[in-house]
Symmetry: C2
Subunit: 217 residues, 2 copies
DNA sequence: TAGATTGTTAATCGATTAACAATC
DNA sequence: TAGATTGTTAATCGATTAACAATC
């Protein structure tokens, strides 16, 4: 994995760090709901299955948030991480491919808690166009560029078959999308300035089955 | 991410390498279908969006497969990688949580091409139990241990809500599951010998939105 | 042969972790 | 104060990449 960096003030932080911060925020919210007011890096790290140093190191890219000898105020840290990740403002995204997986993501309720909202879904299949999924009408793929541009969407989620993925990604990029989450089992080659995250469920399971076969020896 | 290693003969190969090998195999199959007989690391790497050295290095953990000055025979390499990953034999898995995402995975046709097959699906929701999804009947979650053990399943996919994930994972592990793909937005703490891969769609998109906000400056 | 391309060693780069001073 | 825990520097570890000999 070529690790991509992101400029933060003068610092460059890897996307791995950002993902971890996002998961810290996720768990902090749970703690907050459970009425926990103060937490140490040690106990939170245990909850997250990482080391406490990694937690503190990750935070250190953005400033000191804790109190030595005490730990972290859950509310304060939650607020800081929310601000830092920009998770307080709603972020819309466009989705291409309203098949099984696409529909599941459209209806994925957890996204709401992350202030992430599906704004438009597209498909080229006549049978899917016009279909209403969770209140959202699937639009014709040929209108994608116009809609994405008009709505000013910056994030695209690709759930189309592998052979259509590259073209869809290019069209998204041309319409102003600068970050893509690709579920299609294929690599996408696109302008450097567009960030692509790949999730290939088949590859994930195949890697696990290699692990299983190894263990069988 | 703590990078997990897997023993291969005397060599230890990271799971990242295995995932890449899986994606190499995926693209080699496409080339094979397109009638390509020989390919160089350079052109394949370009297709994959990685460097040619990385491709050759990854292969080198398992032996020399190419011909110097020429490249790789597509059929031969496909066969070798298939054998190496054990991708020729069908690998079954169990799925917990037959909601939207779970159903999408049950019906995910690409898995077949990877010789990966859903063998049993479970849910604790009375409305879902007995439901037939793509020919598979959703079973009662309380029968999970027995069925998993009887069928000898080793891979589990978790699509239940976050708060149920930990318990489901533990029950899977107790029934003999040794590799888990977790889609629930929470960490799973489990026996060391069980490998857990996490895919948190919310975290993925939140990280992308951080990237988008950074670019806006 | 000359050109191309592999396989591998050594160098580099980045991420994780150990160690510890600072301080609540 | 003594104990706990943070924040950070330095050391370690691992992964990627550069360089190049081997050879088709």
């Amino acid at each position: 994995m070529t690790s991509r960096r992101v400029l933060t003030g003068s610092k460059q932080v890897s996307l791995e760090v950002i993902k971890r911060l996002s998961s810290y925020l996720r768990d902090l919210k749970t703690l907050e709901n459970n009425g926990v007011t103060v937490v140490s890096s040690g106990s939170l790290a245990e909850l997250l299955g990482i080391s406490s140093v990694q937690f503190r190191k990750d935070l250190s890219y953005f400033g000191p948030f804790g109190k030595k000898g005490v730990g972290y105020n859950v509310c304060t840290l939650t607020a800081k991480l929310t601000e830092l990740l920009g998770a307080g403002d709603c972020m819309g995204f466009a989705l291409a491919g309203a098949g099984k997986l696409g529909s599941a993501i459209i209806q994925y309720s957890s996204l709401q808690r992350f202030n992430i909202k599906i704004m438009a879904a597209f498909d080229s299949d006549r049978r899917k166009i016009g279909k209403k999924i969770d209140g959202l009408v699937v639009a014709d793929a040929k209108d994608m560029e116009t809609t994405v541009r008009t709505m000013g969407l910056k994030i695209g989620v690709i759930c189309v078959p592998a052979k259509a993925a590259q073209q869809v990604a290019e069209r998204m990029a041309s319409a102003g999308i600068i970050a893509v989450l690709n579920f299609a089992p294929t690599e996408i080659k696109i302008l450097k300035k567009v960030h692509v995250s790949n999730v290939d469920i088949c590859v994930e399971i195949e890697a696990l089955s290699y692990f299983v076969r190894q263990s069988a020896t």
